[in-house]
Symmetry: C4
Subunit: 235 residues, 4 copies
Amino acid sequence: MAQKKYEHIQQEAYEANMQLPKLGLVLFTFGNVSAADRALGVFAIKPSGVPYEELTPEKMVIVDFESNIVEGNLRPSSDTKTHAVLYKHWENINGVAHTHSVYATSWAQAQKSIPIFGTTHADHNTVDIPCAPPMSDEMIQGNYEYQTGFQILNWFKENNLSYEEVEMILVSNHAPFTWGKTAAKAVYNSAVLENVAKMAHFTLSINADAARLKDALIKKHYERKHGTGSYYGQQ
Amino acid sequence: MAQKKYEHIQQEAYEANMQLPKLGLVLFTFGNVSAADRALGVFAIKPSGVPYEELTPEKMVIVDFESNIVEGNLRPSSDTKTHAVLYKHWENINGVAHTHSVYATSWAQAQKSIPIFGTTHADHNTVDIPCAPPMSDEMIQGNYEYQTGFQILNWFKENNLSYEEVEMILVSNHAPFTWGKTAAKAVYNSAVLENVAKMAHFTLSINADAARLKDALIKKHYERKHGTGSYYGQQ
Amino acid sequence: MAQKKYEHIQQEAYEANMQLPKLGLVLFTFGNVSAADRALGVFAIKPSGVPYEELTPEKMVIVDFESNIVEGNLRPSSDTKTHAVLYKHWENINGVAHTHSVYATSWAQAQKSIPIFGTTHADHNTVDIPCAPPMSDEMIQGNYEYQTGFQILNWFKENNLSYEEVEMILVSNHAPFTWGKTAAKAVYNSAVLENVAKMAHFTLSINADAARLKDALIKKHYERKHGTGSYYGQQ
Amino acid sequence: MAQKKYEHIQQEAYEANMQLPKLGLVLFTFGNVSAADRALGVFAIKPSGVPYEELTPEKMVIVDFESNIVEGNLRPSSDTKTHAVLYKHWENINGVAHTHSVYATSWAQAQKSIPIFGTTHADHNTVDIPCAPPMSDEMIQGNYEYQTGFQILNWFKENNLSYEEVEMILVSNHAPFTWGKTAAKAVYNSAVLENVAKMAHFTLSINADAARLKDALIKKHYERKHGTGSYYGQQ
């Protein structure tokens, strides 16, 4: 019998997943979102390959941070282990999203970080959006989705990036992953990333020598949204 | 009087055809889908030039694998003979789709196979999406649509491609054809192809030297969806 | 008092104009369509600058082939004289459409004819879609819209093009004009042109050396839709 | 208690803001529009970070031309000071709009003015759409949004541009601002700018050497809409 104690994250994960087609970020089932409850040590994630129009909150699968299925009759997303690794090692995130959105995925396929060209980007973070390099054959042939999580963690560590400041990454030849304090925030980040990826592509098409944003402007825009004296939004 | 025995494939073909405008794959009537019944030795196909909003299941024309009209008052799609040739020679397909979707058609017009740049592609097949060369003048001036079928068959044979693994092709200067176990799967493949074609185009715009996916990753992604130990989807 | 005798072309022009926003061919009021009645020697055309959502059949202005307003309280489209010139000199057209659709207009701004790269194009005509050169300062400073009509007529004459076979043109630095046997056909041609313009742009992005369609295929596709032995559509 | 005397500009600002998502000009809350009443010396502007679906006329914040909040419980748009500066110095505008629309923003990121390539552009103004250079570090670190207003004013002054003829600008590395006699006109200009930006990008992709519009045509198109003998639209 389904346990009531997971209903809130199932509902949260359901609503976040349903935003993906609404925001134009997925074709068919090429995406998944999860929502975690740190106290319970689990997350709710989309079942694998189920069309969005057939999703219900009850169908969300409950998984712990070691990738064990805790509750649910359906098989969880094939990317579940990547979600689990991120939750386990990054203690302040409660939502993870993965899409194959067109422009972000194209940058990942091009194996290029997305240069910070404007304030739309700087409103969200202060660095080029990182693109983790292709995984080694050993990582791929082994526990692939689990290793994908480590590829992300390692790239952040090697490049001194903070997962609390930069809530998105491209995995080379694959596609983007995003995260945040909530599942809704993770999805929001997926949409922002797609928008930034699209504009960076057009920017380079218009001017192949386009310059990165100057430091003063990067700092200003990020701080007006996220600094201690932030004045964007309502509080 | 219309025979009840074809109703199921007429319904299947009707529903599959109606997906084309919904998925943004066609302008006006520039596309057609068919659904076959192997036991009956026939397929149901869209009538030629009839707008999607006027389609009904009853209007689907019943044709055999030699391209003879078996039932129906309307003229079948002008591409009917291509469908018939594919059904006749490829015994395990029951659906064929043809569109002039924008990005896939642009690759066909560019006479380029679509390089395998990412896992979205590798989730569906392990090779560059083949582009059959332009047909000879003799083939064009002869029984054109019939020969288009052979152009596809021959290209698969010459390149040792399996139609059960690679369910899509571009015909140079023309447009894509896709197929599958069902008409719905053929349409699904048309949408995937368009998506992959779009991202491959952007990938090369971002990085003209973008590298093909490494073999280990191609194998991994394809097998997690299609291998014996597949773990994508619900069984 | 409004005369009943123009109601049929007002209705036809109204319906054709309303297709422009539906087909994504116009922003705001940047387009207009007219429908002619040869026996009455007049055409009905969109009033200038009126938003599509406020259009009604009665608001269509009746104009003769010398550009005189015959009936209507509103000012006709600013492009009216171009329509009138085309009707006057090309006796077998009864509809004219003008849009600033994005891709076709971009080709016009680039001052390039659209190369015939595929069968989508060849299904409609057998030549590169012509781009008339920029008009002389004298033509522009004079009776501009009237001269735009002659710019089109002259380009067809100089290049031995038949307006019955090629139902579309780009006017350099301006935008496309299309026409046909009916206003609905003119609008259909605008949508086809936009589609062809889009794919030709992507084709060249993918392969800067893309080859024009071979003659045998041009001929075949055009004839299967338009030749004496045509077999596309329902008769 | 809310004062009735601001209701008309709150309503105007509300309606204009709601056009932004409808016209596809904004993602999430990345845009804002204001409507001024010159007699009252104030303008109504979107509250910061509030989703469009939660907006109501009452939520519009009333601000004076020195950026002081006159009425409203919500924090006004973070770009409020830029609006205030423009209203204060340009006496004949009553509406200002700011978006991060994709193509216009890409030109701003590329730090390029948009060349006048066609009549769609010339119908609205007679010059390249100006791109103000990046602001100095001093301006950014100081009163940033206030200085953004001066960056715009100064660029117009230095280049002898008239804000009544050219109702739009790109701010380098940031995004476009537009204005007009009404808030609705400012939004209209944002949509026109996005459309022109898109076509200019495609024009250069098709022909890297595309020529600017010839002077005679620039003059003609602008005057038929805006000159003393204008004949576009109804009056």
